[in-house]
Structure formats: C-alpha cells, structure tokens
C-alpha cells in the first residue's frame, strides 16, 4: 500500500510538503488547546443551554 505514496518519480515532494503543512497546522491548534483554561471551555460549552425565553424554559422541563 505504501508503494502508492512513496514511488511517484519525484512527485512525492508534493505529498510530503502537504503532510508537513498539515502537521504544522495541527501542532499550532494543539498548542492553543493546551493553553486554553478549563473554566473557559466549560463556560463556552454552557452557551446553548442558557435559557433565552419563558417558552424554552417551560419546554425543557417537559422533556
């Protein structure tokens, strides 16, 4: 299976370049996540549940 991606007569540089770019991108996102405060993440995840009107309050209780 790996022959498909390693044996491309020189064109594998496009592939390697693409993968490296993704790796760099992924690492940046990971660093951001590591540095994110837990209480902030919790606060954000509560957003859809903040009630916005009387109607919704009643109905959520009925669920």
């Amino acid at each position: 299976m790996f022959k498909q991606i390693t044996n491309l007569n020189g064109d594998e540089r496009y592939l390697i370049f693409s993968l490296l770019m993704f790796l760099a991108f992924f690492i940046i996102v990971a660093i951001m996540l590591f540095r994110m405060k837990k209480d902030y993440a919790e606060q954000m995840s509560q957003m859809p549940l903040e009630e916005d009107s009387e109607i919704n309050k009643i109905d959520t209780e009925n669920l």
């Binding site: 299976m1 498909q4 991606i5 491309l8 064109d11 594998e12 496009y14 592939l15 370049f17 693409s18 993968l19 770019m21 993704f22 991108f25 992924f26 996102v29 990971a30 951001m32 996540l33 540095r35 994110m36 405060k37 902030y40 993440a41 919790e42 954000m44 995840s45 509560q46 957003m47 859809p48 549940l49 916005d52 009107s53 009387e54 109607i55 919704n56 109905d59 959520t60 009925n62 669920l63």
Partner: protein
C-alpha cells in the same frame, strides 16, 4: 449599562421549516421516481422532460439544495439568534434570502427538466441561475455577519464557526466551479477542459458534501443536541480540534473521486492520503456528539427526536469510515462506478442529513408554536419507517455493487470476459433495484407522516412570531485576553479569513500543478477538435444527461481494456469543454464507442433501446428522431470555444454551418443505404456524429509526446 429588550424572529425560522417539508417531500418523490425508472423504463413516460437523465439532477439538486439547504437556513436562523443574543441583522434581508432561494429552486426544476444543464454534478444549473445562487448566498452572508457584528455575546460558540466556514467555503467552491462562458441565454461552456475540468468539478463535488452536507450539520449538532439532551457538549476542546482539522483536511480529498483515471498519479495519491486522515476529525465529531448523551440514554429511549439524533450520528460515523475505505485504490478498483457509491451517499443523506433534520424539526416546531408535539407516537413510527427505509435502501445496493463489480472483472479460464455483454450484469441486479425502491418508499412515507404530524402541531398552537428576549449589550473590550483561540472567538472577520486560508491551501496545492505544469497533461498529436456537427451532438448528449449513466473513462485494468478497448489518456480530453467522464456505470462506458457500431444501430437504439439490446433498461429517445437541430447556434458555439482556446482557424465559425450540414448529409446517405429515411435536420444525426467520433482520434495515429 442597561439591559436591552429585543425579540427573536421566529417567523423566518418557520418559513424555512415549511420549505424544508415541501421540498423534502418533492425531492424524495422525484428520487423514488428515478429509482423506479431504473427497473421499469416505462416510468420514463417517453417524454424528454421526465426521462431519467433529466430527473436525476432534479433529484440530487432538489434534496441537496432545496431540502437540506432550507433545513440549514432554518437551523442557522434559529440557533444563531439565540447564541448571539440578537435578532437577525435585517428582516428584509431574511425575506429576500427566503424568497430568493425558493425562486432559485423553482427555476432550477423547470430549467433542468427542459434540459438546460451544464453537466457538472450537483451544480448542473445554467449560468443565470448560478449568478442568482451567488447573489442570494451573499445576502445570506451579509445577514449572518450583520447579526454577528451586532451580537450581545462576546464569544462565538462552536456552532457559529461551522456556519462561518460553511458560508465562506461554499462561496469559493461554487464560484470557482461555475466559471463559464455564456453562449446564449441558457447555454454556456466551462472555461476548464478535460482533466482540469474533472479536477475542478470533483474538488467542488467532494467539498459540497463537506461544506454543505457536513459542516453546517455539525454546527447544528453542537447546538441542538445539547438542547435536546439538556446537557453541555462532551468536550469543547475536542470541538476546536475537530473543527480546524476537518476544514483543513477535507478540501484535499477531492481527487479520490478520480482514482485510476487520467488524472496525474500524485494528485490521486494526495487525495487518498488525506481521505484516510479524514477519519480522525470526522470521528472526533461523531464521538463528541454521542458522548454528549452520556448519562442521558434513558431519554433516548423515550424521546424519538433523540433516537433520530443517535442514528444520524451513527450514520455519519459509518459514512465517514466508508468514504476513506472507498478511496483506497484496491477497494476503489471494484466499487467505483457501481451502486456502492449510490448506497454510500444515501447512508449520509438519508441517515445523517435527513435524520438530523427530522430530529430538529420535531424539537423546534412545537417550541416556536408554544405547544407540544401533536403525536409522539407518530414520530416514533416515523423513526422506525425511516430506519427500515435506510436499511432497505442501502443493503440491496451494496449487494448489487459487489455482484456487478465482480461480474465486470470475471474472466473465463480461456482469458475472455465471462460476462462480455454489459447488459447481463445489469439484469442480474434488477431485483436489488426493486428492493431499493421499496426502501425509498418506506423512507418517504415516514416523511409524509412527519409532515402531517407537524402540520397538526402547528394548528394546535400559535406561532410566536417575535419571541421576547433580553440581554446586556456588549461593552468594548479593554483587557487583552490571554488564550489565542479565546481571542479568535470574538473576532468573526479574522476567524473567517483564517478559515478561508485553511481551505484555500488544500485547493491550491491540489490544483495549481495540474493547471500550471504542462507535463501533467501530456498532449497527443492526433487528437483534433470536434467538428461543428459533433459539438452539436455533444451538447445533445449533455442535454439528455447521458453522463448520469454512462462514463467516458476507461481505467487501465485488463477487465476494462478487454471490454471497452484502449484505456483513456489525459491528452485525449484536451478539447472536452466540459469533461464527460461520468461517475456511475448504469450502462457501459462510451469512450471507445466510436465506429464500433454502424450508424443505423445508433438510430434504432435511440428509437427504442430494446431493438438492439433486448431487456435494456435504457429509456427510449424518440424525440431525437423528430426534433430539428438548431444549426443556427453553431457559429456562436464555435466562437465561444475558440475564445476558450480550441484551435479552430480564424473565421471558421462562419463556415461552421456549411461544414456541419456536409457531415450530416454523409450520415443521412449512409442511413438511407440501410433502409432508414431521415433528413439532415434531425437531432439524431448530430448525436450519431458525436458518438461515432468518441475515442477514435488515437486510433488514427497513436503518438504521445
């Protein structure tokens, strides 16, 4: 600072909701018709407006842009107002958006039925409609960003990012894919040809799935699932990781639709690698959704809408695992061009998109009508009908695909094809097609039941058109927040730009080399432009949607070269404005059909396919024998193609009618010699000219530079 009083616009949400129901039933009914046509050709009704080739794009565009599109807008307009604590930016723009979108749908149905098609899959609408789509989409964007700007909530919740990514990517995809040169009011040529056109089309096609059928639905899941389960999303951090990885990786995977074709090999392999990587973020999203229900599984037992959500997420997981598996070359070799792909997309469309829309409708309609659902029991029955429908749809098609895919490749010990006649392999799977139609009918009956249930719900309640709300206005930020992503979440425009960059990188790396480096598309000296009559025939081929069932791409396998002839090369398509490789073989490949049969064979075959191929499920095209060819349009077409780069000599356009008539006379004479009386004005002559030319150029003098 004082608390502000305002109201949410529920009327626009309701309107999009009703449109979702209406177009859902319409689009699925047309789909059921198409499914029946495949085993009972009578259902084509022998008129051009109802024949499979034109029905198929109405079904695909109908369910994608009409049903799913309206459902997206309904959910976005509902959730965004509440997540941002603000009414939509402009009621007027909301209305223009709503009516603009519905007019586009109606115009698309009419024009596609009339045969005005550009043939790019999932973007078949001709150029005036393309312009309208872009205008309405931009209006939606202005309304969305206007709301974001006047919001009363500093940070944007994950659902909003998915909506932003959807907006910006669909705009880029649709515009790049639709660059075309108009020839007349309802006819145009794409500026791309052959391999490049195929690459653009599948970059679009694949990412339409990603950014129209996936990202908005993930946004909807992140809002509505916590609402329904009454608990926050499992992991907010996972949602960030999954968001950025998904939008970054998805855009690269388009070439997996073109494996083993004439596309440069490194692009194909790039598509494969990124497709495999795509499992990770997709499953990240599915797991995040399913784990949100931890500790709430008792609710799943009693709430049909949560059942819909669980099956939707499961189908998403299956489809996003299956996709990467299908993009492995070894699997693709057998599954491509078969019904496997049809089953695969329907697991996604019926399961993931459909079921999530149903779940949201059942939750949302009672809420904006300030009442409870008319009948929970009916919605439970709908759930089971829908689930059975998906199973009855998908399983027979998987079966059919494996049977047919293996039959195509089977050789006798003597080394000849065991099933040399393509039709034998089609007749073998007709029972599966019938079962698939049963599955579709089950699913549709569930949807009709839901429509009834929701109409009853609306009648027993009253629409809260303007829902009262209050919130503190935003103070200007003075403190600089520490976290990078946290700052990003309050900067919508920067966020959009970053999302745009993330998706552009993949598109550029994928396409630039194929466009810029000439060695990626080797030219063949003997390949010449089409004659004017062949161009006309080609446009009839496009008009009738022949590419819905016939490919023009012979892959380099022994089983394909033995059946169809020499495998297809990139250089053979350089004058193909637009490419017609197709994506499904309900009938055989046609790339080497040229000169294979006499003219009379084609004439009879179009009049009634069962004359030449007993048992054929191909529709008859008798109108081609009686309708007059529009010779007058020829010079305009030749001129347009010259502008696009086809090397016709200067002033050739002026002589093109003459040339076309001369070629037509030759075909008429040949037909006459075979007891067929017709005249050169008929459309069939042009179509025969085109079919007889297909794939013959390299036979003249194969000489690859």
């Amino acid at each position: 600072m004082q608390i502000e009083k305002f109201s949410y616009d529920n009327k626009i949400v309701r309107n999009f909701g009703i449109a979702t129901l209406v177009w859902g039933i319409t689009g699925m009914t047309v789909g059921l018709l198409a499914a029946i046509q495949l085993f009972w050709p009578f259902m084509n009704f022998e008129t051009q407006y109802t024949t499979f080739g034109r029905i198929r794009p109405i079904h695909t565009n109908g369910v994608i842009f009409a049903f799913v599109g309206n459902a997206i807008f309904m959910s976005v307009y509902y959730s965004m107002q509440r997540l941002l604590k603000a009414r939509m930016y402009s009621d007027f723009l909301s209305k223009v958006h709503f009516w603009g979108w519905q007019s586009i749908i109606v115009a698309s149905i009419i024009t596609l039925a009339m045969g005005f098609t550009s043939s790019h899959e999932y973007a078949e609408m001709e150029w005036p409609i393309d312009i309208a789509v872009v205008v309405v989409w931009v209006i939606f964007g202005i309304n969305m960003f206007g709301t974001i700007i006047k919001r009363r909530e500093r940070h944007m919740y994950v659902a909003i990012w998915f909506y932003i990514a959807t907006f910006v990517t669909v705009a880029v995809l649709y515009i790049v894919n639709s660059v075309q040169l108009p020839v007349s009011g309802w006819k145009s040529y794409y500026i791309y040809a052959g391999v490049q056109d195929a690459l653009v089309q599948w970059w679009y096609g694949h990412n339409a799935v990603a950014f129209f059928l996936t990202t908005p639905f993930l946004g909807m899941m992140y809002y509505f699932l916590p609402k329904m389960a009454n608990r926050p999303i499992y992991s907010y951090k996972l949602s960030i990781l999954h968001f950025w990885s998904l939008i970054f990786i998805y855009i690269w995977a388009g070439p997996h639709h073109l494996l083993y074709t004439a596309l440069p090999e490194w692009v194909q392999n790039l598509g494969v690698v990124f497709s495999i990587m795509l499992i990770a973020p997709s499953w990240g999203g599915m797991i995040n959704g399913l784990l949100t229900l931890r500790g709430a599984w008792d609710k799943v037992r009693s709430e049909p809408m949560l059942k819909f959500m669980v099956v939707a997420l499961t189908c998403y997981g299956m489809a996003t695992f299956e996709g990467p598996m299908l993009s492995l070359k070894q699997v693709n070799a057998i599954a491509h061009f078969t019904d496997w792909i049809v089953a695969h997309v329907h697991v996604g469309a019926l399961g993931w998109n459909g079921f999530m829309v149903f779940g949201i409708l059942y939750w949302l309609i009672p809420r904006i009508y300030n009442t409870t659902l008319y009948s929970k029991k009916l919605s439970s029955i709908h759930f089971w009908l829908g689930t059975l429908g998906i199973l009855f749809y998908a399983i027979p098609l998987y079966w059919a695909a494996v049977v047919q895919g293996l039959m195509w490749k089977e050789f006798t010990p003597e080394g000849t094809l065991k099933y040399g006649n393509f039709l034998t392999t089609v007749l073998q799977i007709l029972p599966m097609y019938m079962m698939r139609a049963v599955g579709g009918a089950l699913y549709l009956s569930g949807v009709i039941m839901m429509a009834f249930n929701l109409v009853k719900t609306m009648k027993q309640g009253q629409l809260v058109a303007n829902e009262y709300a209050e919130a503190m206005p935003l103070e200007p930020t003075i403190v600089k927040e520490k976290g990078v992503h946290r700052r990003l979440e309050r900067k919508p425009v920067l966020f959009m730009v970053l999302a745009l960059i993330a998706i552009l990188i993949g598109g550029m790396v994928e396409m630039m080399p194929t466009f810029m480096i000439s060695s990626n598309v080797p030219t063949i000296a003997s390949v010449k432009p089409y004659t004017p009559l062949e161009i006309q025939g080609r446009d009839i081929y496009i008009r009738e949607g022949c590419m819905g069932c016939h490919t023009q791409m012979i892959r380099p396998f022994r089983s394909e070269t033995a059946r169809y002839g020499e495998y297809s090369k990139a250089g053979e398509y350089v004058y193909d404005y637009t490419y017609l490789w197709g994506s499904k073989r309900t009938g055989p490949d046609l790339h080497r059909i040229g000169q294979k049969y006499p003219n009379k064979w084609h004439y009879d075959h179009m009049l009634d396919p069962t004359i030449t191929s007993p048992g054929s499920i191909m529709p008859a095209y008798p109108w081609l024998l009686t309708q007059d060819l529009d010779y007058a349009s020829t010079p305009g077409k030749i001129r347009a193609l010259t502008i696009l780069g086809v090397p016709y000599t200067t002033d050739y356009a002026d002589k093109s009618i003459e040339d076309a008539r001369r070629q037509a006379e030759l075909i008429v004479k040949d037909l006459e010699a075979n007891q067929v009386k017709t005249d050169s004005d008929k459309e069939i002559i042009a179509l025969i000219a085109y079919l007889q030319r297909l794939g013959t150029d390299i036979k003249v003098n194969a000489d690859t530079k």
